[in-house]
């Protein structure tokens, strides 16, 4: 462990600069996160941490609505997304399948095979949210452990884990996921696993950066001086401080994964088409942009609102957990 006693001004500049330039070389995957959470956060504009604010409540309500409706999908009075097909009849009494635009009977309209799009979006939320939450959860678990260890034990262990992460990050993320899914097969579980692999190094690097700075603090040194084991120090002193930052990033990560699922589906490497996910609904409507744009636009709108809510909440969590911004 290097002694944290820099006295000369040059040393401090040097260490700051070295830190910054090192990070600059590997920060790209966190770019998205940085951009979302950088600068004077939008969540706090015109308001100083009294209550959560309208935006945060709207985000929470939207996400809660999404979660409950996707949990309750089997009990909701909506047509089955796969088996219920409504065939509008034309003059001759012959059944003609057309994708009808939104109406009072079908708020999001029907798709080309006569499925209710609203029902498909709700059922799709089940799979898309499942993929998002589970893969980021897995990434958080593995990445969090690796990152905390790497950040706490700098030296050789930290260096080794750091280089492994760098190498993993050298592959384009979506390509890596695409690769894993193709090899393992197009099931919900495999897509989840692939996206977990992709999100692990990103989350690990953020945990590492955070653990690195917290490990330098006096209370960590104090705990060590009292004879606490490394495990106890990580568990009781470092981890509780790293957790809020990780949680904020995890919210953004879920948004990224939901988008990635749809991206994989569009490429043709997502979950197999008969399973209803947001990505697959979009793919199903891609051929009918001219006549029935609502099939694509409805899930796109839902994805946009979900990502917006998750970003916003992530921003709020970060702003509240950030020491500089808190009510000190």
């Amino acid at each position: 462990m290097p002694a944290p006693s820099h006295n000369s001004g040059d040393d401090i500049v040097q260490s700051l600069v070295a830190d910054k330039s090192h990070d600059s070389a590997v920060d790209e995957p966190m770019l998205y996160f940085a951009a979302v959470t950088d600068g004077p956060e939008i969540a706090n504009i015109g308001k100083k941490r009294k209550g959560l604010g309208v935006g945060a409540w709207l985000s929470i309500i939207w996400l809660a609505l999404l979660l409950t409706s996707s949990f309750a999908a089997p009990f909701l009075p909506i047509p089955d997304p796969i088996n219920d097909v409504e065939l509008p009849r034309s003059g001759g009494g012959k059944a003609v399948v057309i994708a009808t635009p939104p109406s009072l009977d079908h708020l999001f309209g029907l798709d080309g095979s006569g499925h209710d799009v609203l029902s498909r979006v709700i059922w799709g939320a089940r799979n898309s949210l499942l993929i998002g939450i589970v893969s980021v959860g897995l990434g958080l678990l593995v990445g969090g452990v690796l990152g905390n260890i790497a950040g706490y034990f700098k030296g050789k262990i930290g260096g080794f884990i750091g280089s492994v992460l760098d190498i993993l990050l050298a592959f384009p993320q979506l390509i890596l996921a695409l690769f894993v899914v193709t090899v393992l097969g197009h099931t919900v579980a495999n897509v989840t696993f692939a996206l977990a692999i992709v999100s692990t190094p990103v989350l690990a690097r953020i945990a590492r950066a955070s653990a690195l700075s917290w490990s330098e603090r006096e209370f960590v040194l104090a705990a060590r001086a009292q004879g606490a084991t490394h495990r106890r120090v990580i568990w009781r002193e470092v981890l509780p401080n790293v957790l809020p930052a990780m949680f904020s990033i995890a919210l953004l990560g879920i948004a990224v994964v939901i988008v990635a699922e749809a991206g994989l589906a569009i490429i043709g490497a997502g979950v197999k088409p008969e399973v209803v996910t947001w990505g697959n609904i979009i793919v199903g409507g891609q051929g009918e942009l001219r006549g029935a744009a609502h099939i694509v636009l409805a899930p796109s709108l839902i994805i946009f609102l979900t990502v917006l809510s998750l970003n916003f909440l992530g921003d709020v969590v970060r702003a509240r957990s950030d020491v500089r911004d808190s009510a000190l």
């Binding site: 500049v13 070389a25 790209e28 998205y32 050298a170 193709t182 891609q286």
Partner: protein, 325 residues
């Protein structure tokens, strides 16, 4: 100098590990016999055996790796095998890549230029008038843009500009695809906008926050006190020291875009590298996949390296701090 040397050593190690991992990974999923069987499933047994011989799959693993690296360095990226029965034909991978690379480069370059052209004035102005209505509005818009996935922008453009209003062709699947921007702009415009939109939000926010910090420095106060017009202070004095993060990020983004444009290339059927990579994986042409993944990874790592060097060249503080070490 010593810094550059250490970085070079590290670069070589990372390059070695990345090539080795990609090579091993492909073997792992393909297996020696499977690899050929998947590439040309309908070829006769003799043909498959001949191809196996040609690729050198019967040799030991490390010999294969050595040969592959040797060929790779000399520009021989292997062959794409197609056909059935006794008619197996092959095309060099490099030929296909050379045809598609310009399209991808054009896409990336123009997406970056468009994003920077909008983000730089916007970032400078919002920093100059930080806290104003316009600043808050643009901040809000940037936040919204970040939540808008690229494929949603692409689908919206394809729906309205392409399908409904018929202003631009939705699909770029013309053969041969014109390589000059003057001839292919109508196919490239929508993909470029789809890729640029989210970048504008990222770049504006980055530049704005760096710029706000710079504007509080003493030399800006001095410049203002000398009576230099605000416009000149902003673009001449403040922009350069504030643009470091932006440059780094924009540089790295070029690399990320090569792989990241896969979805956009797919939606608009643009014949670029991203589309080729996706197609190679889906059609199980793993030799092509291997070459592409390694090329992209190398490109990305080299880009990182040069951005890192450039970073220290641009910021004298970094250069001097390092020189002391």
């Amino acid at each position: 100098m010593r810094m550059i040397f250490t970085k070079l050593v590290r670069l070589v190690v990372v390059l070695f590990v990345v090539t080795f991992l990609s090579f091993w990974f492909i073997k792992l999923i393909g297996g020696n016999n499977d690899l050929v069987a998947k590439m040309i499933p309908f070829a006769s047994i003799e043909e498959k055996e001949r191809v196996r011989e040609e690729i050198g799959l019967n040799k030991p693993f490390f010999v294969q790796y050595r040969n592959w690296i040797g060929n790779f360095v000399t520009g021989d990226l292997g062959q794409i095998y197609t056909g059935s029965g006794a008619n197996v034909a092959s095309v060099p991978v490099s030929e296909t890549i050379v045809k598609r690379l310009p399209v991808s480069l054009e896409l990336m370059l123009y997406a970056q230029l468009l994003a920077l052209a909008i983000a730089i004035p916007l970032g400078v102005f919002t920093a100059y008038r930080a806290g104003s209505k316009f600043d808050r509005g643009s901040n809000m818009a940037a936040f919204g843009l970040l939540a808008l996935p690229q494929f949603v922008v692409a689908l919206l453009l394809a729906t309205y500009v392409g399908a409904k209003w018929q202003l631009l062709p939705t699909q770029a699947n013309v053969d041969p695809f014109p390589l000059s921007p003057a001839d292919n702009w109508q196919y490239m415009l929508m993909p470029i906008i789809s890729l640029a939109l989210a970048q504008i939000a990222i770049y504006t926010r980055l530049l704005r926050s760096d710029m706000i910090a710079t504007l509080q420095e003493d030399f800006i106060t001095t410049a203002k006190a000398k009576g230099i017009p605000a416009k000149r202070v902003l673009f001449r004095h403040a922009l350069r020291p504030s643009s470091l993060t932006l440059l780094t990020v924009a540089g790295l983004n070029v690399g990320a875009l090569i792989g990241g444009a896969v979805v956009i290339e797919r939606i608009f059927q643009v014949p670029g590298i991203g589309g080729l990579l996706a197609a190679s994986i889906l059609s199980q042409q793993y030799l092509l996949t291997q070459s592409l993944v390694v090329l992209i990874a190398i490109f990305y790592i080299l880009l990182n390296f040069f951005v890192d060097i450039l970073y220290s060249v641009l910021d004298p503080r970094i250069r001097h701090a390092r020189a002391v070490a």
